[in-house]
Amino acid sequence: MRADQILHPTPAGLYCPPGDFYIDPVRPVPRALITHGHGDHARSGHGAVMTTRQTLEIMAIRYGADFAGQRQAADGPIRVGDTTVSFHPAGHILGSAQIAVQPDQGPKIVVSGDYCRHPNPVSAAYEPVPCDIFVTEATFGLPVFRHPDPAGEMTRLLASMAEFPERPHLIGAYALGKAQRLIMLARQAGIDGPIAIHGALQRLCDYHVEQGIDLGPLVPATAKQVDAQLVIAPPSAFASAWVQRFRDPVIGFASGWMAVRARARQRGVELPLVISDHVDWPQVTQTITELAPQEVWITHGAEDGLLRWCELQGIPARPLRLVGYEDEPE
C-alpha cells in the first residue's frame, strides 16, 4: 500500500482509509483520533473519539461529558480497522500525544501533532518514535526561530516586576498548557506568593493540580481588588472590560511569536515573553535528522522554510496544506 493510501488530507482533516478514521478532524466525523486538547485539534461532535486519558478529560472539561458518542482512552497498541495505532508523548501540553499508524501492509506513519522538546513541567517529555513517514508541524519552521531558555524570559519578567513594583503585570497565555507552564516557570523562578488567574483558567488549572502538578497558591483575578502583582489571563481577556480593574498594568504575552518584534508590536504588548510549546527550528531539524524517515510530511505553519531545509538535506518532503489549524492558538 502506498503511503498516501494510508493517510491523506481531506477537507475534514487527515484521513486513514484502512483504519477508517481521521486524525484531529476539523469537522464532525464518525471516528476521530486526537493528538491533544487545543480547540483547533480537539473538537466536539464526533461519533467516536480515541485519545489519551488526559485529553479525554480535558475535552470533557471544555465541551461537557457528552462531547462525543463514544470515548476510548488509548493505552498501548490498539487495532483500528486494518491498522494498529499507538499514542506517544509529544511534550506539547498535558495529555498531548503523537499518533503512530502501522498499517498491516505499508509504511509506518507518525503524526506528531504539535510537539515540543524543551523540558516542560506540565507535559510528559517528547519521545522519538522511529517511522517511515514523519508528519510534522512547521509552526516555527524558519531558522530565525530559536526559542530562548524560558528561565531567561522569566528573569525578564521578574526584572520588570521589580522595576515597576506598583504596576500589575498581566501576562497573556493560552488557557490550556501555556498558562500552567507559565505558572510553573514563575514558581521555578522563585515567585512563591499568590498568582492571580483569570476565571477562564480556573477549571483547567484545577485539573492540572488534580494530575499532580503543584501550581502553588492561585487567587481569582475576577475580584474588584486583585492582590497579586502577577496576573495570568487568556489573550482574549485583554480585549474585554475585565482589564479595566487594573491600574496602569504592564501587558505581556507569552508566545513563540514574541521573538519577532513586528509580531509583538501588532499585539500592543509591552513585555513580550518568548515562551513556546512548539518545536523551534533547531528542534524540528534535529528531530528529522534523528528519526531519518524516508519522507517528511508537513501539516501546517511555515512549511516553505522546512521544505527548503529538507531539500538541502536530500530528504523527500511535501506539504499537506491542512487548513483549520491556527499557527499557535490563543
Partner: protein
C-alpha cells in the same frame, strides 16, 4: 552591552513616557562610565560611528545561511538587522562592554569591517546582536527624544533640565564631566561656541483672566504658527536650535547662511516667500531632513521672525527689562532679508486685543502673545510674565469609525479614536484623537465602542457609524499621505454629540475649505 540591549528592547515596547524615563534612569544609575555615556549618545542620535551598509550585512549572512532560507526569514521578520540577529548561529553570549562595540565601529577601517563585525556577532547572544546591529546601522528607532534623555539625567541628581540643556551642546560622548556633575562634582565649563540657552515660555490665558491685569503693563504681538527657535552666531559659529535644544541647523542651511550678526536671538522659524508667510505644512516639509535639495531651498525658503534678543554684540541682555531688549532689537541690523522683526500690536484695552485676535491678518497666526514690559528673559515657564492667548480652535462634527485600545493607565479602555467625515454618501477617515474627554466620558465611549463593534482587527475595532464627535483642532495641512488629503494638527474630542444624528455630521468638503 547586555544591559543596553535590554534597555533598547524595553524602550521599544514601552509606550508610557514615565515608564520610559524610569527605565532609562535605572540603566544610567546602574551602568558604569563610559558605557552609559555611549548608550545615552546612541539613544539621542549623537553617537557618530561608521555606518554599516545593509549590503555588507546581507553579504555576511549569505556566506552562512542558504540564500532561500535567508530570503524567507527576512520576508517574515521584515527588518534586516533583526533577521540577522535572529539567524546568526553561535552558542556564546558574552557580556561585551558597550565601549568595545563603539570602538570597533568607530575605529575599524572599511576593509576590515566585515570580519570585525562577524567576529563581534560570534561573541553575542541574540538581544546583544540586535543592539549591536542597530548601533552599526545607525538606526535605533526607539522613540526617545534627547529632551527625555535629559529629563532622565535631571532625575538622577541636582541639576535640573534647564541647567543640563544649557551645557548639553558643549559636551561630547561619553559625557564623563556631565555624569561627574550629576554625582555632585563641578559644573562642566561649556567650552563650545554657540551654546543653547534655555528658552522663555508662556502660559495660556483667556479674556477673563486678563481682566485682572493692567493692559498698559504689557506689549502684545502675533503668535506666528511656525517653530520657535534660537538662532545664534557666536564668533562665526552658527547654530539653529529648537526650543528644547535640538540642533536643527542641518535642515536649514539657507537660514544658517543668513545669520550675519553677532548674538543669540529668539524667534519663529517660518517659510516665507516675499511678504507671504507660508502655512505650517510648508515648514513641516523642511523638518527632519539631513540634506535639503536645491529645489526645496528655492520653493520653501526658510526665514526667521525675531521676537527677542538674548545676547547681542557680546552683551548678555537677558536681565534687562523686555522694553530695553526690544529697543535694541528695533535698532538692530540683521543684514539679511530672511530675517525680520515680529511687529508689536497697538491696543489700549483687552477688548481691543480681543478684536485683533479675532481677525488676524494672516492665516498662519495662531493667536497673540502678551508680555510684561518689565520682564527679564528667564528660561523655563515662569507663571505670569508671558501669556499666550491662542485663537479659538476649529471644530468639525465627525463620525466615530474605529477605536483602538490604549496603554498604561488606559489599558483595557478603547481610548484612541479614528473619526471620519462624509464624502458623497461615504464616510472617509480624516483623523485620530485620543484626548479631550474626561475619565467619565472615556468610560462612556468605551461602553459605546464595545456595544457597537462591527469587526475586530487585533487591538482595533470598527464601529457602527452611529456617534458624532465634535473634534477641535488647531490647524489643517494638505497631505498626500492621508487618504482624505488633509491632516489635522492637535485634533481632540471637544464634545461627544450623543444627540446629533450621523447624517448631520460635516462633509469632507467643509474641512478642505478650511485649508489655508
Amino acid at each position: 552591552m547586555r544591559a543596553f540591549a535590554t534597555l533598547l528592547e524595553r524602550l521599544a515596547f514601552t509606550p508610557g513616557r514615565n515608564a520610559k524615563l524610569r527605565l532609562l534612569r535605572h540603566y544610567l544609575e546602574a551602568t558604569p562610565d563610559p558605557d552609559r555615556g555611549y548608550a545615552l549618545a546612541a539613544l539621542t542620535g549623537d553617537l557618530k560611528l561608521r555606518t554599516v551598509t545593509p549590503g555588507l550585512l546581507r553579504g555576511l549572512m549569505v556566506e552562512r545561511v542558504d540564500e532561500q532560507l535567508f530570503a524567507l526569514s527576512y520576508d517574515f521578520v521584515g527588518d534586516l538587522a533583526e533577521t540577522i540577529a535572529l539567524l546568526w548561529d553561535t552558542d556564546r553570549d558574552e557580556d561585551v562592554p558597550l565601549h568595545q562595540a563603539v570602538a570597533l565601529l568607530r575605529d575599524t577601517g572599511k576593509a576590515g569591517l566585515p570580519v570585525a563585525i562577524a567576529g563581534m556577532l560570534d561573541r553575542l547572544g541574540p538581544s546583544q546582536r540586535l543592539a549591536f546591529l542597530k548601533l552599526a546601522t545607525g538606526n535605533m528607532r526607539i522613540g526617545l527624544s534627547a529632551r527625555m534623555a535629559r529629563m532622565a539625567l535631571a532625575e538622577m541628581g541636582a541639576p535640573d533640565v534647564a541647567q543640563i540643556e544649557e551645557i548639553w551642546h558643549g559636551l561630547t560622548p561619553p559625557y564623563q564631566p556631565l555624569f561627574d556633575w550629576i554625582a555632585g562634582g563641578a559644573r562642566p565649563e561649556n567650552a563650545a561656541k554657540a551654546p543653547f540657552r534655555p528658552v522663555m515660555l508662556s502660559t495660556p490665558v483667556d479674556l477673563d483672566q486678563l481682566g485682572a491685569f493692567d493692559p498698559t503693563d504689557y506689549i502684545a504681538e502675533w503668535k506666528w504658527d511656525g517653530i520657535r527657535v534660537q538662532a545664534i552666531n557666536d564668533g562665526g559659529v552658527r547654530r539653529l536650535y529648537s526650543r528644547t535644544g535640538e540642533d536643527i541647523s542641518a535642515s536649514f542651511p539657507d537660514l544658517i547662511e543668513a545669520l550675519n550678526f553677532d548674538g543669540a536671538v529668539d524667534g519663529e522659524l517660518l517659510v516665507r516667500r516675499g511678504e507671504d508667510v507660508a502655512v505650517f505644512g510648508d515648514l513641516q516639509k523642511r523638518l527632519g531632513r539631513k540634506q535639503v535639495g536645491r529645489g526645496m531651498l528655492d520653493s520653501h525658503p526658510a526665514s526667521l521672525r525675531v521676537y527677542d534678543l538674548m545676547i547681542w554684540g557680546g552683551r548678555d541682555l537677558r536681565d534687562l527689562p523686555l522694553t530695553d531688549r526690544r529697543a535694541v532689537l528695533e535698532g538692530a541690523d540683521f543684514g539679511s532679508d530672511r530675517i525680520d522683526i515680529s511687529p508689536l500690536l497697538g491696543f489700549s484695552t483687552w477688548d481691543d486685543l480681543a478684536a485683533l485676535r479675532a481677525d488676524p491678518p494672516a492665516p498662519v497666526i495662531e493667536g497673540v502673545m502678551i508680555k510684561r514690559r518689565d520682564s527679564p528673559y528667564v528660561g523655563g515657564r515662569p507663571r505670569g510674565p508671558w501669556f499666550k492667548w491662542k485663537r479659538d480652535p476649529h471644530v468639525v462634527d465627525a463620525v466615530l469609525l474605529y477605536a483602538q485600545r490604549g496603554h498604561g493607565k488606559r489599558s483595557g479602555f478603547y481610548s484612541d479614536f479614528t473619526f471620519g467625515l462624509w464624502d458623497a454618501d461615504q464616510l472617509v477617515p480624516v483623523g485620530k484623537a485620543y484626548f479631550g474627554f474626561t475619565d467619565e466620558e472615556l468610560r462612556e465611549l468605551d461602553r459605546f465602542v464595545r456595544n457597537n463593534t462591527v469587526e475586530r482587527f487585533g487591538p482595533v475595532r470598527s464601529i457602527a457609524p452611529k456617534l458624532v464627535l465634535e473634534v477641535a483642532f488647531e490647524g489643517l495641512n494638505a497631505s498626500g499621505r492621508h487618504k482624505s488629503g488633509v491632516a489635522m494638527r492637535f485634533p481632540r474630542i471637544s464634545r461627544i454629540r450623543w444627540d446629533k444624528p450621523v447624517s448631520e455630521a460635516d462633509h469632507l468638503s467643509t474641512l478642505k475649505a478650511m485649508i489655508p
